[in-house]
């Protein structure tokens, strides 16, 4: 029996530029329940100083049932859930346009994400990469949309990616 490393076949992750046709839709994996600890850690370490995200009494006085999940955390989780499907093959995150936060999210709620391919084009300066834009939406457990944004990334092209 040869060494396990010689017998091993890579179980690859991610998609490449050629895999994205405008209009293609992705229901992203996993989902994620935001818990109090996530929100406390995130707002504390990113210094997000609005007490509605970390002072339950203040948040209740403002009309919420308890602390509100920091919107930047909601954005980062919905983005994070989309990475394997959309951008894991490498290439820089170029930007975000037209992001709207549509309803508050509270700890205990569960986020899921889906995306649609808007457009793709080759990179003129980096032939091993292409540029892809997606519209990504995040939903709570009641299928209410909480966030929506357009993201653009450099994405590896298949020929280059297969060498990785």
């Amino acid at each position: 029996m040869s060494d396990f490393r010689e017998r091993a076949v890579l179980w690859p992750k991610g998609r490449f530029f050629e895999d994205f046709e405008p209009g293609d839709r992705f229901e992203h994996h996993w989902g994620r329940t935001i818990n109090e600890g996530d929100n406390a850690l995130f707002t504390a370490t990113t210094l997000h100083f609005n007490p509605r995200y970390f002072n339950a009494e203040y948040a209740r006085a403002e009309g919420h049932p308890g602390v509100v999940a920091c919107p930047m955390l909601v954005f980062a989780i919905v983005f994070g859930l989309s990475v394997e499907d959309l951008s894991e093959s490498g290439g820089a995150f170029l930007g975000v346009e037209d992001l709207t936060f549509q309803r508050p999210v509270y700890p205990g709620e569960t986020l899921t994400a889906r995306s649609v391919v808007l457009e793709r084009r080759p990179s003129s300066s980096r032939p091993e990469l292409g540029i892809v834009s997606w519209r990504t939406e995040g939903f709570n457990q009641n299928a209410e949309r909480v966030i929506e944004f357009t993201r653009t990334n450099l994405v590896g092209r298949r020929a280059a990616g297969e060498e990785k």
Binding site: L47, F49, L73, A76, G80, A92, G95, L99
Partner: protein, 158 residues
Amino acid sequence: MNHRALTGSDNYFEDFTPGMVVRHARGKTVEAAEHVLLTNLVMNTAHGHFNEHAMQGGLFGQRMAFGGYTASLVIGLASQDTAENAVEELGLDGIRFPTPVFAGDTLYAYTEVLETGAAGREDAGVVTFRHWGVNQDDKIVFEGRRRALIKRRPQSRP
């Protein structure tokens, strides 16, 4: 608890005038443990942000911070001044990352007030900000616009 005393009195809707530009007082050094932890916390699976070994052979020779982390930290550095009295975050636009961020970098934030306007409620108004994040070498690592609903200054004593 006197709720009004919990937030500043100089960062209500009326305090923001289009054209004003501020440099926020605090910076923060990016710790590897922290940017990796937050990348993992939000389920971002791109190992360019958390596999130092693989990235040693890459373009930058090290892990690069996730843009979602950079954006959150820069907006965080600007938050006491521009979001402490926010009732609601409305949106972001024109988000760009001109320079990559690595562990050990120190980020600072700047903000320009672009526009102020009425909202669909009496007690708050909409402010559009442009935020920038710069590193210790004064290179821009983040820029973007942010719209938030900001409380108007309360008229009566608490």
